[in-house]
Amino acid sequence: MLRYTLSRMLGLIPTLILVALISFFLIHLTPGDPAAVMLGVEATPERVANLRADMGLDQPLTVQFKDWVSSALQGDLGNSFFLGRPVAEALVERLPATFSLAVAALLVAVIIGVPAGIIAAARQNSVFDGSVMVIALLGISVPSFWLGLLLILIFSVGLGWFPTGGYVPISEGFVQHVKYLVLPAVSLGFMQAALIARMTRASMLEVIRKDYITTARSKGQSEFVVVTKHALKNIAISVLTVVGMAFGILLGGAVIVETVFAYPGVGRLVVQAVTRRDYPLIQGALLMIASIYVIVNLVVDLLYPLFDPRIKYE
């Protein structure tokens, strides 16, 4: 198991190099001179030349890449031009907020999605099942920023239950922290809940027809235990997989919802970086988000044997 974990971690290296390559070349794929683009049309040639030298853009590409990778490995992602501070520092500072939001949204998604999927499957073709399917379809089609705006209108502006936006760190009080989290978490988590519900329902419908489910019933077991013990453990892997994917997406993809709720997470930083063409920051954020996604996937893979004895990592 330990050896497997280590080899899997080594296996991540090519993926991460690829991500690094893409992040790096991003800057060179944009038309024109990045330094000139960043400084705008009114910049003097000297300032542009200075910035080029600062960013190492005057060096050959291979040298630039080598430098970038070796500093990235040491945790140095360069300096943000507009923030005037190291990119890594700026990202790490935003990480707790984004992490809180991702966890909260995932909770919403799992708490709604998994039971909804299970009950819908257990009562296939019932009114409940139909409603779950319709709501899930809505959840997948409605953009989360739109849902966010709707929630702000109803629960902040209308009822005044939650703030319209902003963020309070957990260190300044859990209740306040949660209060600011609820609406963005629901707007983000809803779509994931819909995906998880559909996936759970589909796996459940497949498993519930298996012979071993009939065996469990033929023992005299109640339908509740048949579903929650015999069927659930058999769909655990599929559910875990979507949940892992959802978490990866939530960690990296809160860009728009964070903007709608003026939530100071990584996503909003990325939006600012893009509008200001802060290339080092964009590169760093991309690398970080991709790494997190890859690591979450690895963790999910490593959890499989807990749920299925047929899977063994030697």
């Binding site: 071993y212 065996t215 077991q221």
Partner: protein, 336 residues
């Protein structure tokens, strides 16, 4: 009073009708089945694929997928109680306790993510008032009884760690863990190798005697019937067409369908060219023919058979047949 009737009736099915209400229409999977199973006996239920054998057994267990399946008529008398009228809650007390079931695929009938011990203990804990430790002890005991070597170790194995034959033994251990009076075995050996098949059948026979239980053995293998069954019911298109003791069936098949089935068993002493299979196909249960349902394939069918279906009538002691012309069959037998 005839001696035959003095045996204790364990299960008596009268005019059972189980239909599936599908989008294409009403599918009459079981359409008036009558069966009688005495205590301590093995009843063979034979018939071609799709004739309703499994649906009959699922009706007895009351485990039909519902919707679309529904018992629309008839009685399932188990020790005098009509199972068709019981609530699911009452049925749960009987399942696994008084009536157990084993299935065709030992690969898929055990839950892959729980140990054998967990699955057997679960049944024991459901029906007996014992501790977990005692349930485990009894599970090991059961595994020993069904001939699984080193049961103390095997009990913590997952199904995929056992061979097909061992899995079926584990399944039998599970089914018998609470001393059922009736074991329904739905093609328990079809998926196994021939040598393993024989072992499993022998095991079931031995256990039947030591537990004094009855077995309803579903199969389409007449060889298995000849070896293990006391009584045989031949099923065709949702109905029983012949019912008698095993000797009577093989010595004197009296329904043209039974006769056809027997002729379709390949025999070493016969020329392959003479091998006889039943012409035509099983009628679609969504659209059965008028009259006798076998009339589309029967070599001796006439106008009467096209119009009206015969009742299941006793033609000699303990031998029932659903055919107008069972006597005419005798002449046909002579020709072949």
């Amino acid at each position: 009073m005839r001696i035959l009737d003095e045996r204790e009736k364990l299960l008596e099915i009268r005019n059972l009708k189980t239909y599936f209400y599908t989008e294409e229409g009403v599918l009459k999977a079981v359409d008036g089945v009558d069966l009688l199973l005495h205590s301590g006996e093995t009843l063979g239920l034979v018939g071609e694929s799709g004739c309703g054998k499994s649906v009959t057994s699922m009706s007895i267990m009351r485990l039909l997928p519902s919707p679309p399946g529904k018992i629309v008529d008839g009685k399932i008398l188990f020790k005098g109680r009509d199972l068709a009228q019981l609530s699911q809650k009452e049925m749960r007390k009987l399942r696994g306790n008084d009536i157990s079931m084993i299935f065709q695929e030992p690969m898929t009938s055990l839950n892959p993510v729980f140990t054998i011990g967990n699955q057997i203990s679960e049944a024991i804990l459901l029906h007996k008032d014992v501790t977990k430790r005692e349930a485990r002890r009894q599970s090991i005991e059961m595994l020993k009884k069904v001939g699984i070597p080193s049961p103390e170790k095997r009990i913590d194995d997952y199904p995929h760690q056992l061979s097909g034959g061992m899995r079926q033994r584990a399944m039998i251990a599970l089914a018998l863990s609470c001393d059922p009076q009736l074991l329904i075995a739905d093609e328990p050996t079809t998926a196994l190798d021939v040598t393993i098949q024989a072992q499993i059948l022998e095991l079931m026979n031995d256990l039947k005697k030591s537990y004094n239980m009855s077995i309803m053995l579903i199969t389409h293998d007449l060889g298995v019937v000849a070896e293990t069954c006391d009584t045989v019911a031949v099923m065709y298109a949702g109905k029983i067409v012949e019912y008698t003791d095993a000797k009577g069936l093989f010595g004197n098949p009296s329904h043209p369908y039974t006769w056809g089935l027997m002729n379709s068993i390949p025999r070493l002493d016969q020329n392959i060219e003479k091998l006889h299979t039943i012409a035509g196909v099983v009628p679609n249960p969504l659209d059965f023919p008028e009259g006798c349902k076998y009339n589309t394939r029967c070599p001796i069918a006439d106008d009467k058979c096209l119009q009206q279906e015969a009742e299941l009538q006793e033609i000699r002691k303990g031998h029932k047949v659903r055919c107008w012309h069972y006597e005419r069959l005798e002449q046909l037998k002579k020709v072949h």
